[in-house]
């Protein structure tokens, strides 16, 4: 009887530990809507090229994460990419002429959306659109530009 009880205790302990580990993996290793619990407002921006920006990428201003990208879509009418992102409603005094650009953290890091403050007296709010945007830097374009320019210089000489 004593032995059975210790076996059951051991198996129960194992089950609890196993489920705790599964729970940890399911909740802590993936980022499920970090800003969902808080009050947010949604803003959109149009880009010629979003590079490899993906949903859930951080939106940062002066290096501080203030929101998250919700979705990246292609608008077939205007032929541009539309990025919907949410901003924590604590930051409700961001000028609406701020400009958005797609930046890369570090050399190999992931891309994020950077906001640069403007000078307007009206602020970004739910549903507004960032007017000034700067596309992601595509490294192939840079290289081709460099090659093209250097070739032209040689021709001129």
């Amino acid at each position: 009887m004593q032995q059975t009880r210790s076996v059951e205790l051991g198996a129960g302990l194992f089950a609890v530990l196993g489920f705790a580990a599964l729970f940890f993996l399911a909740t802590q290793t993936t980022l499920s809507e970090n800003f969902s619990g808080k009050e947010t407002f949604e803003v959109q921006a149009r880009f010629q090229n979003v590079g490899s920006l993906k949903a859930r990428a951080p939106v940062s201003m002066s290096g501080v994460t203030i929101g998250r990208v919700r979705s990246v879509e292609f608008d077939p009418e205007q032929l541009t990419a539309v990025v919907h992102f949410v901003i924590d409603s604590r930051y409700n005094q961001i000028p609406d002429d701020s400009d958005a650009s797609i930046l890369t953290s570090g050399l190999l890091g992931s891309q994020y959306l950077g906001l640069q403050a403007g000078g307007s007296d009206t602020y970004l709010e739910e549903g507004s659109e960032v007017q000034f945007t700067q596309s992601a830097v595509v490294i192939e374009n840079l290289i081709s530009k460099y090659l093209f320019n250097s070739g032209r210089e040689e021709n001129e000489q």
Binding site: T4, E8, A11, A21, L22, L25, A26, T29, T30
Partner: protein, 254 residues
Amino acid sequence: MLNEIVYLIRAFLRTSGALTLFFLRLLRYSPTVLFKRFPLVVQQVHNAGTLSLVIIMTCGFFVGGVLGLQGVSNLARFNAEDSVGTLTALSLLKELGPVITALLFAGRAGTALASEIGLMKATDQLAAMEMMATNPVRRVLVPRFLGGVISMPMLTAVFNVVGLLGAHVVAVGLLQVDAGAFWQQLQGNVASGDVYEGIIKSFVFGIVASLLAVWEGYNAIPTAEGVGRATTRAVVRTAIAVLILDFMITAVAI
């Protein structure tokens, strides 16, 4: 020559057919055993799971630790030490966790199952049960099989969590990677699909490892040498099957 090849093919087909039938038989009794003879299953979860915890946690910690070490020292060439969190988490969750746990499980629990059942057979205990109108498949094999199937996903989860802990200790504690960057990179780049892929793998490997261990034990030649051979075969065949299946599941998942 041709005859030998034909004989080999036939032997292979017969073995796989017998294994499939055996598996179906185990499955047929599984619900009854699970609901009516639950204490037997608990006993086997204890044997296969709880008693494997120490080896799983020790190995998990050091596997995670070595991933942290290798990750930091090699990513440092690209100034991307922060990505070590992503690297460890993805390698652990998707590949190393399920595979290494399955191999350790085969070594720790599979051998015990195979030799226990083989010895039961060699000492005529299984035959004695049949004489007493007790079905040995239901009384002995199915609880052991179920115990293994239930234990494997949990052991894998424990392995993964302890591995992440090991990587954290090495990368953040010893090599001064920023803790925030470690977890942010980890959480930002691991999708829930990656987690589920690992869980599905561990479940499949659990079935394979338990099935092969029980099967080899049940079909052991009832001598001392036969039991020894069955134990060896259980580990070897599980290892091969797990690695091949791992490739196949990954190919499907990608």
